[in-house]
Subunit: 323 residues, 3 copies
């Protein structure tokens, strides 16, 4: 099957989604990220990999946190980074998305990081850029958030080692979550035998079983004996009475408290993509507790984004050289 | 005649307008830009010319696209770039324009890129900066946009070679266009024998003939046998019923369609400063067609801005050394 | 007494306030800044001190001018600089201040520059960051603005030499001014025998005498025979009828005119933290006159901020190495 993320040699040239990404690619990214983590711990945070290359952060949807992590990662690779808040830019003046992209290409872009409220935006851009230019999806609508999934995989591998013996639970607003979808694809590809999704009926979409995930509506059942708990952020801005009576109600049933966490394995780790709503989806005692690995996720996220940008750039340049 | 853009040796120390700029200076900029275009095609986009120098992008009028091109150009020269959106800054607190400039000088500025809604702003700043500090006009009111004109000249020279045998038509809202004025000055200086402006009577100011341009109100007449068509952006935000009945009406008479373009020479090129209003001043079939050189304009624009910043900085440092 | 700004060896590891900062530390910063001023005059503005280090500018309160000076200083030290406007960021999504800080730490921050509307914010952050990470206060509420005070001290030392023979007057809205408080602490520590504060009763807080400052409500008395006049910015946005009848009234009594300045010593210097309200707290004839040293303050401010960031980073790394 054709995969727009890979070149003819099967190398990663864009990162758009974890869906359909082979295990060897996922593992390549995690291994490369491990090198950056080790280098960082040794005090070495700067590499010449993208020196003289231009990275454009295109954020059609505002996210200071994610934009910042990509900026940091690009600067670690010595790239020249330009971040564009596109609402304030020429799309306002009636320019189409592809006109904007083609203009930035003409300005000498080598890599686009794209965040967009519409599913498929990064794919569309990847289909239309010139050979030699890479696209990294930083979140598109409800569809995918592959670098978040990869940092989640990095974190799980770091703390738990082997995916093939793990029970992983993803908890909360599965319906609106691109993180949940991307995590499920990555987990199943990496051989995780049991992925669970836990949430109220109104927040779990149909088709979870076909993705390889088991659905639970009760936290006590869903958390029982799991090794990893991935809490999702409750998007207050997306919530209305249609989905949930109140955040207080949500916390009562699905908020992760020490009591509920006690149902998981004693050495279970707790993850969260941030920013956390303390007292909504997670209790502060858990967020700040010994089982939480939420801050290591952030550190690993920089390394994973650095690895992804390095890999797709190297493979694009390889392709460019052959063309 | 005194020209504030040149030093006593006749070297370019500020770029404020193409009006009165000698042919040898225009040619010097285009030649230097050609070196950056060639280097870029060879994969070399980074130069140490402005290493350790501070470039300030002062955008008193918002323009993400133009600001980005100057940022990219300055980074290619290894400058430290600071972009300031001045509405949000201290002018709000009652500081005058010149106080702001003098403060930034005191912070160690070496080069100011200035975009301002008022005609003459860049000139005013150039008159008041210390020796050794360069000013580049990135658009002032309806007055001038010299780097846009220079990239237009670069594009024409690239595709057509000799200016002295060309018919060039500039089409659209001439009245509000600093691009049109700057293009006309550059074209006549470079020896272009026939410059035409085409547009409705309400959008062509008086005095065009004295600038050396011939006025046409009919596209069929104006486009006949031209070698170059420069379409202008219709500034929707400036339009009101006073100038035009509707954009639909404008497209009917002045929008560049394949049919109208067929009246020009068969190898005529089509230019546009961007961002385009497709279906208003230009038909998509033309914008994406074989005669359009709109994306090469963008690439050349980076090279031209790089060349301008390099030249004025080198000449300012030369002057500083002699002073 | 425990001072959170110093490590066990008495070295500066954070800069939070000038209050309680020993004279040897103040002098160390001024001496280091003098090296940067000299280097800048020799055309050398770039140092490798913070190469590969990450500086985060956290501006919870908007101040383009101060943010820009810190950005410039950090870039001079070759740091990777990320500036965050935190109103637009994740605090909006309900994340707490400390969650934000811990996340940025996890991203690899080495130094935080913090501006916050609440007094004590920088202290709070300094108490919670990991060892090895430095915090520099860029202004917190009405409490402190230590780098402004240090650049004021640099300016006074530059023009007047010895602090132990000077009369210094601080004029205007003392009540709302973190600059005034920080200046008074620094001046008394450096041995200035006579510090005066001048302003209307409504704008001078109680307790000035205990800080070592003498209170004057009359400009003629307060300015008599002083060597240094530090004018404060009248914060229009903070003014309401409760404090002052009008800015016009304020200028009449406390605006610095040539006539009032004539009461000071003939060689007295005039300082202002900027941006100035001409015609409110200062007359243009004084602002642009021979006794004003307001633009040198800006230049020295870059050098002082460069010195502070270099010193705290070096001391943090020293501590990190020992830990």
């Amino acid at each position: 099957m054709y995969n727009p993320q890979l070149n003819a040699q099967g190398e990663l040239i864009h990162l758009l989604t974890t869906e359909g990404l082979p295990k060897r690619i996922l593992t390549q990214i995690l291994d490369r990220a491990a090198e950056y983590v080790a280098a960082g711990e040794a005090g070495n945070k700067k590499f010449a990999t993208l020196a003289g290359r231009s990275v454009f952060n295109l954020f059609f949807e505002n996210s200071t946190r994610t934009r910042t992590t990509f900026e940091i990662a690009a600067k670690r690779l010595s790239a020249d980074v330009t971040s564009l808040n596109i609402q304030a830019s020429s799309t306002v003046k009636g320019e189409t998305l592809l006109d904007t992209i083609h203009n930035l290409e003409a300005m000498g872009a080598d890599l686009f990081v794209v965040r967009h409220a519409q599913s498929g935006a990064a794919h569309l851009i990847a289909q239309h850029v010139q050979p030699g230019i890479a696209v990294v999806n930083a979140g598109d609508g409800r569809h995918a958030h592959p670098t978040q999934a990869l940092l989640d995989m990095y974190t799980i591998r770091h703390f738990k080692g082997d995916f093939t013996k793990l029970r992983v639970a993803i908890v909360g607003d599965i319906l609106h979550s691109r993180v949940a979808r991307s995590d499920i694809h990555a987990l199943t590809t990496l051989g995780c035998p049991e992925v669970r999704v836990i949430g109220p009926k109104t927040l779990i979409p149909t088709g979870m079983e076909s993705l390889g995930a088991h659905v639970y509506h009760d936290m006590a059942e869903g958390l029982k004996d799991v090794d990893v708990v991935i809490m999702l952020r409750l998007q207050n801005e997306r919530m209305s009475g249609a989905f949930l009576p109140s955040t207080h109600e949500f916390f009562k049933y699905y908020g992760l408290t020490p009591e509920k966490l006690a149902l998981a394995k004693p050495d279970a780790i707790v993850m969260h993509p941030g920013p956390m709503n303390r007292g909504v989806e997670i209790d502060s005692a858990v967020a700040d507790g010994a089982q939480a690995v939420i801050l290591p996720q952030v550190t690993f996220g920089i390394a994973v984004r650095t690895a992804v940008m390095a890999i797709v750039s190297e493979n694009q340049r390889g392709r460019g050289a052959q063309a």
